[in-house]
């Protein structure tokens, strides 16, 4: 075993997993478990920094990344452990020639950040306003042939993907014609070369999941990955500036695009199965939905109600219908939106988790605590700056204010455990939950 991690008997670990997942399930169902669960998400570079790995290595050395996460996370007595999110994303990015973010170690110097910097996204107007009609006529075709090649330089040959006319009974000609194209052949060759190197990605994640299981540590069941459709347009197509100008100049096209994206999001819920394994009976099928432009200040409540909320609720309702638990992450402040959130929660009691960054949890508990499990929100400033006594005090205050009736999960505020968090503060957060979170022995 790695780094002093103690293994245990199979029955013990199975028992432990059942206990922990039941605790979390009860909390989500807004019932009192034996103790308030602690279910941290961890930002990608927290474990690497603790384990002395550079940010660059975290993105390029999958097996080492998996081992480091295992060692760092198993120091803490948590109820649900973080899912490994795409280690070796660096190699994947190099493989397709990503132009939508900058990251440490990028093979293309134009997209390279320092070895000790986290990756950061680049928001650009990838799609012009006058392309909405093309997008709306054939969403997937337009994305594949127009957006993907713009955003990923190696995938430029996707521009030549066959149109519907070549996909009928003519497919036996149309499809091979694509693959025998000189540039496409070159791209496929590149792929094969890099994919072989990527075995560490899959192995790193699988070893992590398996070993965690042996240790009796359930890993958060990441089923799919959701987004607010408005954020898809804003982050990936039009840029925030473009999307917000569209609210004035092309409101109908913008809303139609958001509506169309709903089914696409719901249709790709199994996207990560190959990496994370199919969900089993111990999986808590949470779907993380990081939200970007819906926070206070980004738009008015009227704009939120018109452009942001309807398609996001459609995504969440679709998930609930498929027994997936939506986990929207309300980054920033959502104090102006609480009426919307409460109304949705009332309709779906015990079927979702609201994770807050910088919104007053105790107020949220008062408003909608009977219907929805809330998660959060130990501030990054405390997990990084401490001191541990202040962390303990904060966690105690949140538990006192939120534990009644169940429905509370302890986690950090932004990104769960932030990259630069200090061990003693994370330990204090964990200890405080075990000390103050008990409902019954």
């Amino acid at each position: 075993m790695d780094g002093g991690v103690v293994n245990m008997g199979k029955t013990d670990s199975e028992q432990l997993i059942k206990e922990k997942t039941q605790r979390v399930r009860d909390a989500i169902a807004v019932k009192e478990p034996d103790r308030v669960p602690i279910t941290p998400f961890a930002d990608i570079f927290f474990a690497p920094i603790q384990g002395g790995m550079s940010h660059k290595d975290a993105l390029y050395k999958g097996r080492k990344y998996g081992k480091t996460c295992l060692k760092v996370y198993s120091r803490y007595k948590w109820d649900l452990y973080p899912t490994l999110f795409l280690p070796v994303v660096g190699k994947l990015n190099d493989l397709v020639g990503v132009r939508t973010m900058k990251w440490p170690g990028a093979s293309n110097p134009n997209y390279r950040l320092g070895d000790h910097q986290p990756y950061q996204f680049l928001e650009t107007e990838w799609m012009k306003a006058d392309e909405y009609e093309k997008l709306l006529t054939d969403v997937t075709g337009f994305m594949l042939r127009n957006i993907v090649p713009r955003q990923n330089s190696v995938l430029k040959p996707f521009e030549k993907l066959p149109l519907a006319s070549a996909l009928t009974i003519l497919a036996p000609v149309g499809i091979p014609m694509f693959f025998i194209d000189k540039e496409v052949k070159k791209m496929v060759k590149e792929f094969k070369k890099t994919l072989r190197k990527m075995i560490g990605l899959v192995l790193g994640m699988r070893t992590y999941n398996k070993t965690m299981k042996k240790l009796g540590n359930p890993v958060a069941g990441q089923v799919g990955f959701g987004m607010a459709p408005f954020d898809m347009v804003s982050d990936s197509l039009r840029g925030m500036r473009g999307a917000m100008i569209d609210m004035y100049r092309n409101p109908e096209e913008l809303k139609r695009t958001c509506d169309i994206f709903v089914d696409h999001i719901l249709g790709s819920m199994d996207m990560f199965d190959a990496l994370l394994g199919k969900p089993d009976e111990n999986t808590i099928p949470l779907s993380f939905i990081p939200l970007h432009r819906g926070a206070n200040g980004f738009m008015s409540n009227e704009q939120f109600e018109e452009f942001y909320w309807p398609s996001l609720t459609a995504v969440m309702e679709g998930m609930i219908k498929n027994d997936i638990i939506p986990l929207p992450f309300f980054e920033g402040r959502y104090s102006d939106r609480l009426e919307f959130l409460a109304e949705f929660a009332k309709k779906h009691k015990g079927k979702l988790v609201y994770w807050f960054h910088d919104t007053d949890l105790i107020k949220v508990k008062e408003m909608m605590g009977d219907y929805v499990c809330i998660r959060g929100n130990v501030p990054a400033s405390l997990l990084i700056g401490g001191p541990p006594s202040a962390v303990e005090e904060y966690v105690k205050k949140m538990i006192d204010g939120c534990k009644d009736g169940g429905g509370y999960l302890v986690d950090g505020g932004v990104s769960g455990i932030p990259n630069e968090a200090r061990h003693e503060n994370v330990q204090a957060m964990t200890d405080a939950v075990h000390k103050y979170g008990v409902y019954r022995k």
């Binding site: 930002d43 900058k102 320092g114 910097q117 986290p118 950061q120 680049l122 925030m240 500036r241 917000m244 100008i245 609210m247 004035y248 200040g297 980004f298 738009m299 008015s300 704009q303 980054e331 920033g332 910088d358 501030p379 990054a380 400033s381 405390l382 990084i384 700056g385 932004v414 990104s415 932030p418 990259n419 630069e420």
Partner: protein, 212 residues
């Protein structure tokens, strides 16, 4: 006619087509382009006030910027060297700290300081300590505003402020910090003077510090 209220309210209401028409019409009537610019400034001030009062949000700031850009396009050929006589309230140096390339919050702060009459020098994103120090020496601002979205900004801000102190410049400037993951607990950690939660706070703090 001293102030063209219709024109100002069309800008404030973000009716871009109507605004463009009116600018062209006013030029055809041989109005002084500098007077048109004064109206535009007044309109932007009203938009800033509406943002402070939570009547306007980021989409409105972006649209007003877009309208401003179009007005400039029309006026540029006829606008002589801008001979602004307006006295600015004071200088603010602004930037997103080294390691962080986020700009939304910083740009909103810049907009609000601008329309409220401050002279702002925006150093952009991922700004290292040396660049801040050099600009402190040359631009001589009364206020330094450091922005950061990521948690790495804590240590980056701390380093920048330490270096400013080492360069003997800390006493010459008041420092405010803000951004996504920043809160008041970080002020002491990084050695700043105050945390501002919003662009409106930034304006109020700067005004207080400059006694305006």
């Amino acid at each position: 006619m001293l102030i063209n209220m219709d024109f100002i309210s069309e800008i404030v209401e973000l009716n871009e087509n109507k605004v463009n028409e009116m600018v062209k019409e006013r030029l055809q009537n041989n109005e002084d382009p500098l007077k048109i610019m004064d109206d535009v400034k007044n309109a932007m001030k009203i938009i800033g006030d509406k943002f402070s009062k939570k009547e306007y949000f980021i989409p409105e700031l972006i649209m007003s910027g877009e309208i401003l850009r179009q007005i400039f396009e029309i006026l540029e050929p006829v606008l002589k060297e801008s001979q602004t006589s307006e006295k600015k309230k004071g200088k603010v140096l602004l930037g997103t700290v080294a390691g962080d390339i986020h700009d939304i919050g910083k740009d909103v702060v810049k907009f609000m300081l601008d329309v409220n009459g401050f002279e702002v020098l925006d150093l952009g994103v991922d700004v290292p300590a040396e660049k801040f120090i050099q600009s402190l020496k040359e631009f001589k601002p009364k206020v330094l505003a450091l922005s950061g979205f990521l948690t790495l900004a804590y240590d980056s801000m701390k380093e920048i402020i330490d270096r400013i102190t080492d360069a003997g410049l800390r006493e010459s400037v008041k420092i405010m910090i803000g951004g996504g993951t920043i809160d008041e607990r970080i002020v002491e950690y990084v050695g700043a003077d105050v945390y501002g939660q919003s662009a409106v706070d930034a304006v109020n703090i700067a005004a207080k510090w400059m006694g305006v």
